[in-house]
Structures are given as C-alpha cells and as structure tokens.
C-alpha cells in the first residue's frame, strides 16, 4: 500500500471522472470521498516512514530516455510533511466549498493541482519536478480566473505570466545543470554532487531564486499576490496560500541550497535582507487594509518572509522551524480564509467598516476564529508559536539586526490580526451583521478540525519536528561544501 506513484495518480484519475459531473451534490460528495481516499492512501507513508534523512519509497521509471529523463520519485523528511499537508488540507478545502454551487469541473481542477503538487513534493528528478511545477499552475489559474470576482481576468493573467516567466528561468538552470552532469540525467543526486565553479553557481542561484521567490512570494516579487488572493474564490485562495506557496519554499530547500551552496553563501545575505524587508513592509501594509481578505493576504507575505528567512539563515534550527511553520501557516491561513468566506457569504462584504459585533450573534464562530487568530499570531500553545520561535532563534543566530527587524513580525502580526478580529467580531453590530447566523453543521465541524489541529500542533510540535529533523541535518551538511 505504499506505492507513491499510485498516490499521485489517484487524484488525477478522480479528476478525469469529475470533469463530467455537472451536479453539485454529486460532485461535492464524490470529491470529499476521493480526497479522503487520497488522505487514507497517505497514512501508510506516515506510519512506515523511516526518518533517517534518506529518501523512502523511491520509485524510478525510464521516461524520456533520449533526454535522460527518469520518472524518479521518493520522499524524505522534507517532502513528507508537505505531502501530508497537501492531502490533509484538500478534504478541508473541499468541506469549505459545501455551501457553494461548484460543479465537477471545479473539483477536477483542484485534483489536477493536487497531483501536480504531490509530484513537486516528491520529485527526485528535475524534469519531473518542473513538470509538476507547471501542472500545478494551470489548474489554479483556471480556478481563480473562472470563479473569481472583480478584475479577475487581468489579475490572473499577471499572476500566470509572472510565475511562468519564473519557471522558465528555472528551466534554463535545470538545462544547464543537466549539461554538466556526466551521466546526462536530471537526477537530484547528480545535481547535488556537481562541482560547479563560483561564477556558475551565482547565475544559477538567481535563476532558481527568482523562480521560487515569485511563487513564495518574497519582496519585491510579490506584486501579483495580494490582488490574486483577493479576487480568487475562497477555495482558490486557500489552495494558493495554504499549499501552493510552499512549493517555492520547498524548492529553496530541495533545489537551491544543496545544488548551489556557494551561490547561497554569496547571495544568501541579500536574499535574507529581501525576506526581512518583506516581513516589515507587508506587515505595515496589512495594518492599513480595509478589505479583510487583503489583510490576510499581506499577513501571508509577512509570514512566508519569515519562513524564507529561516531557510536562508541555513542552520538546523531555521530549516526545522521553516518546515514546521510551513505546515502551521497552511493550516492557519485556511482557517482564516474560511472564516472570512463565511462572513462574506452572510454579510456580502469584506470591508471592515461594514462589519463588527459578530461575536454577539455567532459565539461559536467567534471562539473558533479566536483560536485561529491566536495561531496566526503565534501565541504559546498554538501551532504558530513553536515555528516562529525556532525561526526567530535561527535568524538571531544569523545576525542580531536581522532578528530585531524580523522580530517585528510578532508585534505587527498581533496588531493586524487583533485589529481584524476586533473590527469583525467585537463592537456593535452593523446593518449587515445584524442578522448574522451562527455556524452549524459542516462549517462548524470544519472549523473545529482546523482549530483542533492548531491546538494539537501547538502542544505536540514534536510529532512534526522529529519527521524532518534528520533530513534537515542532512541539508545542513551541504553548507560550505
């Protein structure tokens, strides 16, 4: 039961069936079942995982032999948490769409994307990685542009071209590395054992870095992000923020650091500065937003800025922190966007001016939202705490000044998150929130699951940390190679 290829294939096959389902009720049930099957198929991988730092469950097939491409997949301690995250979040995202009227094609696109994401997180062959990288992009473009609102066409075109351009830069780097490999393949192992000279490492660093930085997004490559998040449908935003941006951070850890360590040593400092600027800049903008979704969008830039800073600090603490924080951010951000979606559905507005006093009308929502907000701020005993703690510690080890500015994220994060909570939940009710009904049924259970995960991971972070610790140590050995 631990066939990785089958796991990647399952959503794909499901997607093809779902394409032809036009009824919402059938589609959503089928989707939920399929996503749970995929989640179920993931469990053996977790149970039998050997956290020794090596790759598990490796599978390799000849693919395009003329080009030296193998379909080589495997999982190590960096892949597994993200793979699990993908498969855990999918059913949750599906649950959040239960009250909408999406047809099968919407869910089909979601599953296409899930396959692509799993391919990205398990590829040990650069060509396969690139294919997964692009395959994940196309469906989300359609999801956001078809079911989004407002100026969605222009915004998504920008998003698509931005990321596509980044991918092509990465393709050049991959092709170059492929030329250098004596055996002319695209294997990860071959790439990392290459002995590249300094000048090569420099430009390869940039080619990879820009591709990943656009996706994450790191300042100043973030300009597509707030608009895309705002105009996408809720489920699309969750896919983007919850899972997709982790592709970029994963890329940094899997392909950038080990392949061009000297390039990172040289320019990592600069990247670090960009990350820290992003943290402060996005936080300050988040504080001033009126649109609730934009607050979370900008907060997301700040959070991933901190995660990337942890990666570029390049120590075991930082990368371990990045791993756990990727998971935490995924869970929290989905909770946040879901709550905002519920609010928008009932009041027809995301403008903070129109909202307020929801807590008196919907106490259950208010309590669960509070837990999620606390998780996003990083309060102790919630999932965000341990991640931010590790990340800030690693940045501190890297440089005190960096830590000082990156640490602002704690304070500023509390400011914008509490402001968001206050303006929506507390105070007096407005015209729009007067008839707010509390959450029931599926909405309630979904948020309970999310809050439960937040608290569980806050109390037992080790359940995640030990999976990745060995692989992260292996990654650290590439330092100064």
């Amino acid at each position: 039961m631990d066939n990785l290829f089958l796991l990647i294939l399952t959503p794909l096959i499901g997607a093809i069936f779902l394409l032809f389902v036009c009824q919402h009720t059938v589609a959503k049930r089928g989707t939920l079942i399929l996503s749970l099957i995929t989640l179920g198929l993931t469990i053996p991988f977790i149970c039998q995982f050997n956290a020794s730092g090596d790759f598990n469950y490796e599978q390799s097939y000849q693919w395009i032999s003329a080009l030296g491409v193998n379909f080589h997949i495997g999982i190590d301690g960096i892949s597994l948490p993200l793979l699990v995250l993908t498969n855990v979040l999918m059913p949750l995202i599906v649950l959040t769409t239960f009250k909408k009227t999406f047809k099968g094609n919407f869910y089909a696109l979601m599953f296409f994307m899930q396959s692509g994401l799993m391919l990205v997180f398990s590829a040990m062959d650069a060509f396969t990685f690139y294919v997964g990288w692009e395959v994940a992009l196309i469906p989300i473009y359609f999801i956001c542009a078809l079911w989004g609102d407002g100026d969605r066409i222009r915004v998504n075109l920008k998003f698509f071209i931005y990321t596509f351009f980044g991918s092509l830069l990465m393709l050049i780097a991959i092709l170059y590395l492929h030329q250098q490999v004596p055996t002319h393949d695209f294997e990860w192992h071959s790439f990392v054992s290459l002995d590249l000279d300094a000048s090569t490492q420099r430009w390869i660093f940039w080619a990879f870095f820009i591709a990943f930085a656009i996706k994450i997004p790191i300042f100043p490559f973030h300009t597509w992000q707030p608009n895309t998040y705002t105009h996408a449908p809720a489920a699309g935003t969750m896919l983007l923020a919850g899972i997709m941006l982790k592709m970029g951070i994963y890329g940094l850890m899997r392909w950038l650091l080990p392949v061009v360590p000297e390039g990172v040593a040289l320019y990592g400092h600069f990247a670090m500065i960009l990350c820290v600027i992003g943290i402060v800049y996005a936080s300050i903008i988040a504080i001033q937003q009126q649109d609730a979704k934009r607050i979370v969008a900008y907060s997301s830039i700040a959070h991933v800025g901190l995660i990337s800073a942890g990666v570029f600090a390049w120590n075991v603490t930082g990368m371990g922190g990045a791993m756990i924080q990727m998971i935490n951010h995924g869970i929290s951000v989905i909770g946040l966007f879901f709550v905002l979606d519920i609010i928008q559905d009932r009041t027809g507005s995301r403008d903070l001016k129109d909202l307020g006093g929801i807590a008196t009308k919907a106490p259950r929502l208010a309590v669960l939202f509070l837990i999620i907000v606390m998780g996003a701020i990083g309060l102790p005993l919630t999932n965000g705490f341990i991640g931010e703690f590790l990340l800030l510690k690693s940045v501190y080890e890297y440089g005190v000044w960096f830590a000082l500015f990156a640490g602002l994220t704690l304070i500023l994060g509390a400011v914008y998150m509490l402001r968001l909570y206050q303006k929506t939940m507390l105070g007096t009710t407005s015209d729009r929130t007067e008839n707010f009904t509390d959450i029931r049924g599926m909405e309630f259970y979904t948020l309970v699951i999310i809050s439960g995960l937040i608290i569980y991971l806050g109390i037992f972070p080790n359940s995640l940390l030990h999976i990745s610790s060995e692989s992260v140590s292996v990654l650290a050995t590439f330092l100064g190679r």
Partner: protein, 459 residues
C-alpha cells in the same frame, strides 16, 4: 520513389475526377491515395539509403520521417475540407489537385540531394500555393494575398537561384555530397563566390520558412488565404522548408559553421522579437497565429544554430508538435468563423459555455503552442532550448525565455475569451470530420507530451 509517383498520379486522377463531376469521390480517393503514399514511404524505411537517379534524391530516414509528417498533416487538412471547399467554390477538384501537387513539392524539398531538385521542389510547392492563396476569386483580400505572395515568392526564388548558381560556380557541382567534398577539401581556399552563394541561399530559404527580416509576406498572406490553405501553408510548407534548410546546412555546409551560425543567430533573435511582439498587438486570431508562426520559426532556427546530432530530431519533434497544435487552432477558427462570422478574438467569447469540448481542445492547442508541460509543444521547446544550451548560447536562451513569457500572454488571450468572457448565444457545432481531427490532434499532442520517446530517436 513510389511515393512521389503515386502522389503525382493521384493529383492528376483527382483532376480528372473533377472533370467528370465525380465530386463525391474526391475526398475518399485523395485520402486512400495519401495512405498509399504513407505506405510507400514507410516501406522505404528499412532499405539502405543511397541517392537515387544520379544522386538527385535521397530517401533516408530524415527524408522519410519529414515526408510522412507532411503527408499525415495533409490527410488531416483534407479531413477538414469536406464541406469547406464546396461552400466557397464550384471547382473543388482544383483544390485537391493543387494541394497534392504542393505536397509533391514538399516531399522533394524533404528528400533532395541535388540543389537543382531543391529548386524544383520549392517551385512546385510554391506555385501551387500562389494559386491556392488566391482561389477565392471574388475576395479582394485573397487576391491581394496571392499577388503579394507571388511577387515576394518570385523574388525569393531569384535569390535562391542566384545562390545556387554561385555555389555551383565555386564548387562546380549541384550535388550535396559534391559541395560537401569541396568545402572539406579546400578548407583555406574557398572562393568568395561560395560565401556569397551561402548568403543568398539563406535569404531565399528563410523567406520560405517565414523568418524575419524576410517575413513581411506572412501575416498578409496567411490572413488573406482561405483558412484551410493557411493551415496547410503554416504546417506542411513550413516543416518541409525547414527540413530542406536543415539538410543543406547540416550536411553540406557544416564545416563553414563559423560563417553562418552568427547570421542565423541574428535572424533567430529578430524573428523571435518581431513575431512575438507583433502577435501581441493583434486583435484577429488568424493574424495572431500568423505572427506566432513567425516566432515559431525563430525557435526552430535554434536547432540550426546549435547544429548537432540531435538537430534533426529536435526540428522533427517541434514540427510535429507545432503542426498538430496549429491545425487544431485553425480548425477551431473555421468552426467559430462559420458560426460568428469573424476571426477576431471576440468571436471566441463564451465558447466554453457554448461548446465546452471545442474550447477544451483549443485550450490544449494553445498550451502546446505556449510550451506548457505535458503537451507536445513543451517537449519541442525543451529540445530546442537544450540544443542551444549544448552550445552555451545562454544569452539566446534568456531572450527565448522572455519571448516565451510574452507568447503566453497572447495565447492565453484566446483562452480568456473562451472561458472568462460571455459572448452571444450563437451555437458552434462540430461535425464528424472535425471531431475526428480534434480527437487525433489532441490525443497526439498529449501523447507526445507525456511520452515523446516514440518520436525522439526516429531519425
């Protein structure tokens, strides 16, 4: 050889069938004939390839592969022609005949081993097209396109002929092997005439493939010609011309690579920019495809710039991918134009609601043209990029990447129109022939995209 003879007889036969008003039998006879031609070509595959008829023609794997591709694409074009020609003219047998003759020319260009035959092939291919482009007698734009194509084509023929003459003057032979021997045996005393000849040949041949700066005819001619003829020109003619160009430069003139590589490098760069930037500005889907076909010529030139063991395969794969996607796009355009009456992007508005299957196949074609993974176009582009990378023209690659990002924008314009905009409620229907074509091209596009192995080491 059987292939060329069969094809020529077939063309005459079809002409006579038209004379006796057997219009219903035109399509089946042509299709059967073409399948026989494919059979003849494939049966030559294993045989030892030596130049035939005093070294005039050579059916090696290279020629056969490209010829089969050309014939196969023609079969697909014919599949679309069933109701197309009858609606625009009474004399439909001429269409078939001329297309078949043009195909004969294309096969000669694929398989020439003597410059005289290259010239003949190009002329046979082009003259038939001059007529076909202007076949809608009462349409001024069709007439204009025909005249333009004819005059420009005559010019380029002049250049080509002059080039061939100079090569002959210097080397004393028309034979590809002879020219190669001349270049190899006289490394230091190659006549300046010879270099002049190469330059003129480059002009003549880049005109045929529609590369800048000799591309000026392309948009107007593509736009003015009937869509079906345009789809033939932009696939069969282009692929054949590239095959001819590649054969000359990789076989005979390879030792003088240092001389002509920079020229092609320059041509490729201008071609990419002119093609893509002009395509960006278009409001007509047909013109956009015309300009994008210029830009694809730019990508295909990469294989000549970075000439190596894989060049032929790279061009072949790219040609397959490009032909399949272009055919789908043009076939989609025919259907949409028939229903809405215009070939502007707006006429695609809301197609996804009206006909989701058509929208889906056009989307896949666009993704293939843009070079998105899991489509044939990606593998084509990937091979082109990697062949350039072999020679470390990294700047060229970065230019190519910039262009690819621009191209995505205009290819997505169609997708945006189909899926994200709402249009009038006119129904766009697909008849059986078109449905078959779409199934063939789309399945092949995805199949080659996922598993290109079958085509990769063919040549």
């Amino acid at each position: 050889m059987g292939a060329i003879i069969t094809l020529s007889i077939l063309a005459l036969l079809v002409l006579y069938l038209g004379l006796f008003k057997a219009n219903k039998s035109l399509l089946p006879v042509s299709l059967i004939g073409l399948l026989v031609v494919i059979g003849f070509l494939i049966s030559n595959w294993t045989s030892e390839s030596v130049p035939l008829y005093n070294g005039m023609i050579l059916f090696d794997h290279y020629a056969i592969a490209f010829s089969v591709l050309c014939v196969f694409v023609t079969v697909l074009v014919f599949a679309l022609s069933k109701s197309y020609f009858t609606s625009s003219s009474d004399h439909i047998s001429e269409y078939y005949t001329l297309l078949l003759f043009s195909l004969v020319g294309a096969i000669l260009v694929n398989s020439y081993h003597n410059l005289a035959l290259l010239f003949l092939g190009i002329e046979i291919m082009s003259v038939a097209l001059y007529i076909l482009v202007g076949i809608r007698k009462n349409d001024p734009s069709s007439n204009e396109a025909s005249i333009k194509y004819f005059i420009m084509g005559a010019f380029s023929t002049g250049f080509l002929l002059f080039g061939i003459t100079l090569l002959y003057g210097a080397s004393g032979t028309f034979d590809l092997q002879g020219i190669k021997d001349y270049v190899v045996n006289n490394p230091n005393q190659i006549s300046p005439l010879f270099y002049g000849g190469i330059l003129l040949m480059i002009i003549g041949l880049t005109f045929k493939v529609g590369a800048a700066p000799f591309h000026f005819w392309t948009p107007d001619v593509y736009d003015g010609a009937p869509i079906l003829i345009t789809s033939f020109m932009s696939t069969v003619v282009k692929v054949a011309s590239f095959a001819g160009l590649l054969r000359l430069f990789t076989f005979s003139l390879l030792p003088l690579q240092d001389f002509w590589t920079p020229i092609f490098l320059g041509i490729a760069v201008i071609t990419l920019f002119i093609g893509n930037l002009s395509a960006l500005m278009q409001s007509s889907f047909k013109r956009m495809l015309a300009y994008s076909s210029i830009s694809h010529a730019g990508y295909m030139l990469f294989a000549i710039i970075a000439v190596g063991a894989n060049s032929a395969n790279a061009i072949f794969l790219y040609g397959c991918a490009y032909s399949l996607a272009t055919l789908t796009a043009f076939a989609g355009l025919i259907l949409v134009k028939r229903a809405v009456g215009s070939d502007h992007f707006e006429s695609f508005n809301g197609l996804a609601q009206k006909n989701p299957y058509l929208a889906a196949v056009i989307t896949i074609a666009m993704l293939s043209l843009a070079g998105i993974p899991l489509t044939a176009g990606f593998i084509g582009k990937f091979m082109m990029f990697s062949s350039v990378m072999d020679h470390y023209h990294i700047v060229l690659l970065i230019i190519a990447v910039l262009n690819a990002a621009v191209a995505v924008y205009y290819y997505l314009k169609v997708v945006v129109a189909m899926y994200f905009r709402t249009g009038e409620g006119k129904l766009v229907s697909i008849n059986l022939n078109y449905a078959l074509l779409f199934i063939v091209t789309t399945v092949l596009t995805i199949l080659i995209g996922i598993y290109p192995n079958c085509l990769m080491e063919l040549i």
